[in-house]
Amino acid sequence: MLISVRDQFGKHLAQIAKDDSRVLALDGDLGNSTRLDSIEKETVDSFLQMGIAEQNMVGVAAGLASVGFQPWVCSFATFLTKRALDQIVVSIAQTNFDVKLVGSYSGLLTSNTGKTHHSLDDIAIMTTIPNMTVIAPADASETVAAMKAMHQTAGPMYLRLTRDETIPSFLADAEFEIGKGKTLAEGTDILIVSTGSTTYRVAEVIKQMEGVSIAHQHFPTLKPFDKELLLEGARKVQLVVTVEEHYIRGGLGSIVSEILSEELPKRVYRIGVPDRFLGCGTDEELLAANGLSVEEIRKSLSNELIRLR
């Protein structure tokens, strides 16, 4: 059965809130888009409407956390991480409060809303904040597992979600441990590293590639990053490729490049959104235009393999 990441997010948060009265959901007037509305339907007392005012919403969460609640603050990723960045840093991260920040509609896939709504820098922004944990699950099942871990672990955390409705629960292992990556395929020619919603498309690419031995690692936690797993995988291959629905600079590709340049110099080929603003478009158009559709990722890999040989 196909359940989207956002549907599963809303459903599971409602469940957590039912079981734990400390959990409160703060909405910035997007509950019916982010699916935070599930919580209002199921346990109305746990839902707080903060209106279209992200800075205040983050500050209110800090105050609630200071008196013992665990607020989950939800908005579109771009508004939450940029409009309220100083508030996140000062009121949430410096205080080390147990506040969960949920950036729904991350990346490119925001339903034809255009560049005002794309969130292509949130990994860069959020991973630079001390005390902040950054999590980007690949599918609905892993989202639930990640939310369970977030609920049980105190501290400021950012959950990066996608609006994509087409990703099935494809991971064989939906277990999740904060700070741990997962090896999805073993291989000796190249290692592909991915995170969040991109992992599904990479897995589809690998199914189509013949005559090449491809390893695939998925990192649902971007901070703290599972350096050991990356080094273990990178040692076995000639080339490391990163793929992400984020600007090519500042995200997963940068994290991987930094680690490898210090510990295991190796060529890294990064696939991500170039340094430019984009127009609106369908999911398919935007992914294709930025080299992130299954077809385009496959083409890039084929070209890199030719260079390798």
């Binding site: 005012a53 209110v60 200071s66 508030q87």
Partner: protein, 278 residues
């Protein structure tokens, strides 16, 4: 802790001296704004707040948020007088890894209910605490001291909006309306700061409001006593008209004293003005 108004006034004078001596010793600190809110801090910490210095994290204590976090100096000097920290520790103000950071850091000093310093953020946190208190069915009050300068930040009004919606009659905002800020309007006498109409603004956001002379201890005590426990369903705002640098004539209404420490001569002059008997 109940002091008579005369005792409170004396305490406020001692507080002003501590503010000045700490700034003089450290050669820095936001003196002007700390002096403008000195009487307010005394009226809160020595009369109004239900707190216990021997148990700073007492669950049912009233909360206090210094939203205008740059006047941490005034707050620390108050906490020293109230017995949370020693007079000696005041000397560590603004030093590397001191509990007394230049801007309040609750992770260092457990007497603080919130970390602040980037202006406009404290009131939102206070709103969160007040919503939390209602949900927990706790009687504690949440006091938030804001500046008129920082009220130029839109977040203050985002917070005010929500305070009305959630009927936070356990939230008491005190506006230190001194008319001056670091550089913006400069002439405090003429009240050029566009945020100097705090009462009108908070009223329009659904607050129950009072306007007092923020240096008249009797008025401060009277209004704080009146607002406490009033359960009318409205958040409350006390507009305290104050003078930046209050108590030291050459500092009063002079924007250069926003963040400046006195030199030897100025320090002696200031202490003389404040009287040597305390």
């Amino acid at each position: 802790m109940l002091q008579s108004n005369d005792q409170l006034k004396l305490t406020a004078t001692v507080l002003r001296k501590r503010i000045l001596s700490t700034a003089y010793y450290k050669k820095q600190g936001h003196v002007g704004g700390s002096l403008s809110c000195a009487d307010i801090l005394v009226s809160l910490f020595f009369h109004q707040l239900s707190i216990d210095p021997s148990n700073p994290k007492w669950e049912d204590r009233d909360r206090f948020v210094l939203s205008k976090g740059h006047t941490a100096l005034g707050l620390y000097a108050t906490l020293a007088l109230r017995g949370y920290i020693s007079e000696e520790e005041l000397k560590t103000f603004d030093q590397y890894e001191s509990r007394l950071q230049a801007h309040p850091d609750m992770t260092k000093l457990d007497a603080l209910d919130m970390s602040t310093g980037s202006l406009g953020q404290g009131l939102s946190a206070a709103v969160g605490m007040a919503i939390g208190a209602k949900r927990l069915k706790k009687d504690f009050q949440v006091y938030c001291l804001i500046g008129d300068g920082e009220s130029q930040e839109g977040q203050i009004w985002e917070a005010a909006n929500i305070a009305e919606k959630y009927k936070l009659d356990n939230l008491i905002v005190i506006l230190d309306q001194n008319g001056l800020q670091q550089y913006g309007w400069k002439n405090g006498d003429k009240r050029l700061n566009p945020e100097c109409y705090g009462r009108r603004k908070f009223e329009s956001f659904g607050f129950e409001t009072w306007e007092v002379d923020g240096h008249c201890m009797e008025d401060l005590i009277a209004v704080l006593t009146e607002v406490k426990g009033r359960q009318e369903g409205h958040p409350k705002a006390i507009i305290a008209n104050t003078t930046k640098g209050k108590g030291v004539r050459f500092m009063e209404n002079n924007y250069v004293w926003h963040s400046k420490a006195p030199n030897d001569e100025e320090y002696i002059m200031a202490l003389t003005e404040l009287g040597e008997e305390v």
